[in-house]
Symmetry: C2
Subunit: 267 residues, 2 copies
């Protein structure tokens, strides 16, 4: 998907909500227990109930991988039920030497037709570059993550700059606002404004709203740019809003609640 298409979608829907498909077999509503593939059915229902409210879906690859080849099949089938005009993110945190990153790019971009994949920066330019060679596909590079462990290395200072700042600055030589975004956690609202000043035209994927403590208002205040520039993710708060047979309706209500908070900020 091109950046123009993504921005148009955001303006049309008046939403920058990303729904995280962290779909856990252990947490499926009891009403799906008779299904051949409960997780697939769950994802299909969630997508049907929310795709007019969100602009992206983000399957968390670990949740599928933890079920082996069968889980991969569910992931492949899930991709087929997401409308083409909704942005898709393989949340995979991959990254390896060049020939290996190329294989990961094949898995997500070619085989499953994801629009983007999250990539870890530790191994540097040749671990990221193979993902940037595809037209209209995106790398979403880890910048400042939402978890407690983000303090361990991302905050280390080198010549006055934190590691995450160095990652965000240096990687702009590898990609552009048309094929590169950053993961910036909503749990650091004070840092979001500073990161925005380092990467004004780039989209940020922002986890950490809801369960982890961040709010839409804080994220907008610190992180929005003139093309919105934000994909705000919610996973558990939407997926598990109800564990009854009304799970899809409840997911829709939770998504709508977040989307309404976003509407007013989109002109």
């Amino acid at each position: 998907m091109t950046r123009d298409s993504l921005v148009s979608q955001i303006k049309d829907k008046k939403s920058f909500l990303c729904v995280g498909l962290d779909s856990d077999l252990q947490r499926m509503p009891a009403c799906l227990s008779g299904e051949k593939d409960p997780v697939l059915k769950f994802n299909q229902e969630i997508v049907a109930a929310t795709h007019d409210l969100c602009i992206a879906y983000k399957p968390n690859v670990a949740f599928y991988e933890s079920r082996g080849a069968e889980g991969w099949k569910t992931l492949e089938e899930t991709m087929k039920c997401i409308p083409d005009n909704v942005f898709t993110i393989a949340d995979a945190k991959r990254g390896d030497i060049g020939n290996t990153s190329r294989m990961y790019a094949q898995a997500f971009f070619k085989n499953m037709n994801f629009d983007s994949v999250t990539v870890a920066p530790y191994m540097g330019v040749d671990s990221v570059a193979p993902f940037l060679e595809f037209d209209d596909k995106w790398v979403i590079l880890l910048g400042l993550t939402s978890n407690k462990g983000s303090a361990d290395f991302q905050m280390l200072k080198s010549e006055g700059r934190n590691l995450y700042e160095e990652v965000i600055t240096r990687s702009q030589k590898w990609g552009s606002p048309d094929n590169l975004m950053y993961v910036i956690g909503a749990t650091h609202p004070e840092k979001l404004a500073q990161v925005r000043s380092l990467a004004q035209d780039y989209f940020f994927l922002v986890p950490g709203v809801g369960a982890q403590g961040g709010t839409v208002e804080d994220v907008v205040r610190s992180g929005m740019n003139d093309q919105v520039g934000l994909l705000v993710n919610s996973s558990r708060g939407i997926l598990y809003a109800s564990d009854g047979p009304d799970f899809a309706e409840a997911a829709r209500a939770a998504a709508l609640n977040l989307k309404k908070k976003m509407e007013e900020f989109i002109v």
Copy 2:
């Protein structure tokens, strides 16, 4: 596998060779084209031809993942053909927030019974800890990688210490020489000795010998400790020693060549 068992295996076999199973469907010998699963057959033949010469196998997960659910099936089946007393490494470079790393640990440790998995450190302690909760399973944390991009962030200096040194030092608070190893590329022999001084009792997984330019002698000189402490990996040089029907024999010869260089260093 316990550290004692790993060390015993190294002493018994007089080898610290790890064979990297970067088995690429595009590079399979023509003689396997009639097989239902050429990569599985290839891996079975490679393992049969080399398991008395090496002490570990390291499937590169990207090469399987790039073939989707089918590739995962091949990986699962490959694990079944590796003898129990040989150490296994899922070269996956995973790492995410706690609940997600737990899912990856499930995939590799529980479902496929790997002894270890390679993990990227960028997200810090809570991304690594879930992998350390399994008895006799190992995290192999990226320290200083063998690729060109290792210079981008791993070499950044903070308070006089490079990032990779900080990773190696800090992570020793999370694990111990009984469940934690480090990836240290053979392409930096001068750094290997320095890393050894930071982590004297830890095993290092050392890629970059052969195709990437490192030698066994250099690695031993700089990196060996009193329990050997090294797993030296070779992938392409062994797997693709011949593309004819003698591929397994040729792989054995290439593995034997490396193993002979190792023998003399093991007392």
